[in-house]
Symmetry: C2
Subunit: 353 residues, 2 copies
């Protein structure tokens, strides 16, 4: 295989809470797991990265390092940090991707800053009003992609419609759902339910040729009624954080249930094992981060607490997304809609993504 054709994944080595240790370890794991199917470019403080590489065998792995002296922290204001820290690992890494010296960018850093960098440096895909980040929810029937998960708190119907298009394409091309069903998150199933924005969005979705199920309710997410669930980032973020808090709530309730009872305590250990296995889908380590959809490039954002395993899965996901070329599908689908909207104000028909 010609190594020149290999994808190059740019990794923000200073992003997460345990950077650069977990980033370096995760990159090595990703390369080993994929059989060196791509290259990794680690971006960050050269000396700190070198120190991590020294302690980890990586002979023969296609890893290179690009120096960037500054670090954007979780406390930094996203837009201010991008302006002030021009030499941050985030800015340098994203620019490498922009300049086509890398094919995808991965970071476990400040989510807002990564999103801003993706939007400002890579730019939006033609036809996309607002880039979006989704979240993966577990369900009785497999993973459910909910978007927007917090990027856009005030949305117009057109934005929600575009989220549906992008989510559908991602669910089909990356999650491999054959004909992903799209649900509009609402307070009731009937078309007349909801707030003004959801009623307008319903019309846009109904008149599209997306596989639109109609409105879905809060209970439908875990049931797996739809593979793609659309809402604004205000609702999405609150729901995501609520969902993430369920396991620790259960743990706390089970601990107080067990109390000082030895039998119950023993049972508790087993219960937690069972829950952990049963809730594997909820584990962000497994998902490989979330993609920024709607920008001219591939950006995968991970949890600040990302373990080496999580970083590994993010890098593998980035390679997969870069290979699938979903941005072309997004642009084509949205262009088709615009053309059709120009021809008919009454009906918006989109080819299936």
């Amino acid at each position: 295989m010609d190594t020149n054709l290999k994808l190059r994944i740019v990794v923000d080595a200073m992003g997460g809470d345990f950077a650069p240790a977990n980033e370096v370890a995760g990159a090595i794991e990703a390369l080993r797991a994929s059989g060196n199917a791509f290259e990794v470019i680690l971006v960050g403080r050269e000396s700190a990265i070198a120190e991590q590489l020294r302690t980890r065998p990586h002979e023969g792995l296609p890893i290179s390092v690009v120096n960037a002296d500054e670090v954007i922290t979780m406390e930094d204001s996203p837009t201010a940090a991008l302006k002030q820290k021009k030499n941050s690992s985030l800015a340098v890494g994203m620019n490498l991707h922009k300049e086509a010296k890398g094919d995808a960018f991965v970071s476990a850093g400040n989510t807002g800053a990564v999103l801003s960098a993706a939007t400002l440096i890579l730019g939006r895909i033609k036809g996309v009003s607002r880039p979006t980040i989704g979240a993966f929810f577990p369900s009785e029937k497999g993973v459910c992609l909910l978007l927007d998960a917090g990027t856009n708190v005030d949305c117009r119907p057109q934005h929600l419609f575009e989220f549906a298009v992008m989510g559908s394409i991602y669910a089909k091309r990356i999650i491999k759902y054959e004909n992903p069903a799209v649900g509009l998150l609402n307070v009731g199933e009937e078309e007349t339910k909801g707030n003004e924005i959801s009623k307008e969005t319903f019309k846009l979705l109904k008149n599209s040729s997306l596989n639109f199920l109609g409105n879905v309710e809060g209970r439908d997410i875990l049931k797996g009624t739809a593979q793609v669930v659309v809402c604004d980032g205000f609702v999405g973020n609150i729901l995501l954080k609520f969902g993430e808090s369920v396991p620790s709530f259960l743990k706390s309730k089970l601990l107080s249930y067990a109390g000082g009872n030895v039998f119950r305590k023993g049972l508790l250990g087993m219960v937690r094992g069972a829950l952990k296995t049963a809730l594997k889908d909820m584990d962000y380590e497994e998902h490989g981060g979330v993609p920024v959809l709607g920008v001219n490039g591939v950006t995968i954002i991970g949890h600040g607490k990302s373990t080496p395993k999580a970083i590994k899965n993010m890098i593998l996901k980035a390679a997969e997304v870069a290979k699938a070329g979903i941005n072309r599908h997004i642009e084509q689908t949205l262009a088709q809609i615009t053309t059709q909207q120009a021809h008919s104000k009454d009906e918006i028909s989109v080819a299936h993504p």
Copy 2:
């Protein structure tokens, strides 16, 4: 004790999915549990109620029956049903309460119809723009009252502010939290976070003398950060239904985890027992329904599937709320705010409820 001074609880005997059986059984249980501390007026089809009473010993219990021939079903449109079925158990019962022939009204019927009836027949408390229904969430530190839970999907900041006032008063007077902390549900803790409506609401709450904690996030609900959580009915309803779906999702995941494994199946039985005990707070049967806040009267709405135990708890709750006279507190607190708003446009200071 002079029985003339006893509270009279009006029960919609035709409301729930298992009416009138569960309503009659629940009324009898409530009277026995309280030692006949109040009277119960069952409203509905006399013959159907009589049939239920015949099979259930109730000698010496202060139960009376008021006939109402029509029944509003779960499928009925709330406002249309109220107009068309003037002789429904809901309309007749609510009017008894309105005419002071009863001190509180309880129904496990069509939630939208009960809410409409409460608003239209009883009217709003002076100073209240929109009546609201809350929901009880379990938390690591006891029950959390979230409102609005679905009544008002489009809200202005003033509405959310009033929900906070009403929720505070309910949490103090009925749930017995000494100084209930109020949180505004949002996508981040900082004052500048959120959509336009939440930013405006933050200012109103900050300048009040409610025990306002600031913004709380989705994860704070189950943590028990605040005793009262305020949001619009769109977010509240989606969150409530999502939360309600967690137990059956866990059950499904645990079942597939157990599979055909005999040991795991045995374990599963124990796990479900543990979860059930641990999640008792989540059980709507225990809460005794949710109150309609902001109307001139006491209305408790229960789940359509209400068991006799749930109905019993709703009736006991109705008696408690009627005794506490919280509407007077709501009116006084809101009147105080209006006066103070007239004096100062910059600062809204309310006496602690």
